[in-house]
Symmetry: C2
Subunit: 321 residues, 2 copies
């Protein structure tokens, strides 16, 4: 069975991917510096002989290579590069955050792949690479991409490095352009923030912006399913895929109301002003997922259904039940 | 008059830009680490009260800021960011070259601009960001860009950073996508290589590839003219412009023959094999320069005329006349 390495594998998406790969009998090594990911998320895998964990910062190319060599896990066939900054406003305030956590982790991952002759890379990119395009529905050919946050810029910059590496030494790379992703374990994002606020002050809570911001959401179960589908069926050496629902998304108001209804039914929701939460926030877009649909994949939940399920899951997570 | 800072200003393009700005009575600070640029190229400006030079590596954000602060030249209005790796095959062999010289110099330049509230950036990008597109003529909207060299990847990655900075704190950025540029002082590139080979062994010299590689060339006089035109007339906050001739370019064979005719008329030209000189080399493309033409600019020399003039100039440079 193939050996997989997952960078950032103790984070939200990584844990879900690890679970699926292990369930298929594949071997995995998770690498994470545990700056945001949590070792506890991986406890369920500790008894599996197919699972290993290494704590290191994969932005440090030398530490990364030494860590993998010392593991002596045999040759690695595929890397899933998920390690990245996930705090968009944080990266606007301090550009070194996206530089180190997103861009330099990609750089070091590629150095590792060249040095150890690892042929296949899967990369968690983002809809943020497109910036604020005015297209009715954004396809992989929309653009040109003009990211308006450092977060998006360093994702696009990472894609560019990977593209050049495919020309030079990588056999295959799949680029996944994620939308907002929700589910368990919830570690960050608007839904978790709102659930926590509503639990803290059940009488009422604040929402950033005027509530009209509309975004598309994908449940992590659907996301991992799409990633594995692309891995299995995409044919080219360098493949870029939008992953998401095809709908128009849900507004922050709708999310806040769903959270209120589940967590604090008597809460007053207080909205702010403006249709952007922060610099670099893209207020509204739709995905064209025709390319991914051509591989036979469809999400099982649209944005509304994904939010509904995730509100339930996150509320349960936060109440410890 | 405005105060300009030119990174990499002791290099080929920088020297030509500095000369034009000084001739217009504008003040300039040249920053260069002299790793490839030469202090001697700037000697002609040393008597000008409008000119200053600081030797430092602008990939080092702290050294960069301290160097500019200690200069006490007054506030800087515009930066022309030209510092970059210019050795494409070198960047394929060692990815840290384009990382440090191209990408990190851009990162540090943006840190400087934010800290010192410098509002306007001009950036020397490259046709290499497009990769090997099959379009008949490449416009700024062609793509999506898929660079096939680290050189092109780090140029695109730099553009992405700059785009995000415009959203956050920069007032204006002009992105110049250069083609191959030739003229004086010649410091690198196929034309200089061939002139040197022909001078060394006038009986015959080797050419990389089969000679059918065809590229477009712009004379540096036209290039600087276009950069200043864009600076003056481009209207938006973030402007991307192809700069080049609109023709189909000239082949390596034609360049080799022009060099032979001027430098070593009895030389035998020995061609190699393959239509690419190295990994990441794009064999052939044409530019659509309609966007730049709409600002009223046209090159005075097409590729053939630019090569003819530059062969004459470079041959004279190398013979010391």
């Amino acid at each position: 069975m193939p050996m997989h390495l997952i960078t950032g594998g103790a984070g939200f998406v990584g844990v879900n991917l690890a679970r699926r790969l292990l369930a298929s009998g594949e071997r995995i090594v998770v690498v994470d510096d545990l700056s945001r990911g949590q070792r506890a998320f991986l406890r369920e895998f500790d008894r599996s002989p197919l699972f290993s964990f290494v704590q290191l910062d994969c932005a440090d190319a030398e530490a990364f290579i030494n860590g993998i060599r010392s593991l002596d896990a045999g040759s690695i066939d595929e890397i899933w590069h998920l390690a990245a900054n996930s705090d968009i406003p944080g990266g606007v305030a301090d550009p070194s955050v996206d530089l180190n956590r997103t861009f330099m982790t990609t750089f070091a991952t590629l150095v590792l792949m060249r040095d150890l002759a690892i042929p296949v890379l899967h990369f968690a990119s983002s809809s943020a690479v497109y910036g604020d395009l005015k297209d009715a529905a954004i396809s992989e050919l929309s653009g040109p991409p003009e990211p308006i946050s450092n977060y998006g810029a360093m994702k696009l910059a990472s894609e560019a490095q990977i593209r050049a590496a495919v020309e030079s030494f990588l056999k295959r790379a799949n680029i996944f352009r994620f939308p907002n992703v929700i589910g368990l374990p919830a570690t960050h994002g608007v839904l978790l923030d709102l659930v926590r606020k509503a639990r803290r002050t059940p009488s009422g809570f604040d929402v950033l912006g005027d509530g009209t911001q509309q975004k598309i959401y994908l449940h992590v179960d659907d996301l991992v399913d799409a990633m594995l589908r692309i891995r299995e069926r995409a044919a080219g050496g360098y493949n870029v895929f939008n992953i998401g629902p095809a709908d128009e998304g849900v507004t922050v108001r709708e999310i806040a109301e769903a959270v209120r209804d589940r967590v604090a039914p008597r809460a007053t929701i207080r909205f702010g002003t403006g249709d952007r939460g922060w610099v670099g926030d893209v207020p509204r877009f739709r995905y064209d997922i025709g390319k991914l649909a051509s591989l036979g994949w469809r999400p099982t939940m649209d944005s509304k259904a994904a939010i509904k399920r995730a509100v339930e899951q996150v509320a349960a997570q936060e109440s410890g039940t």
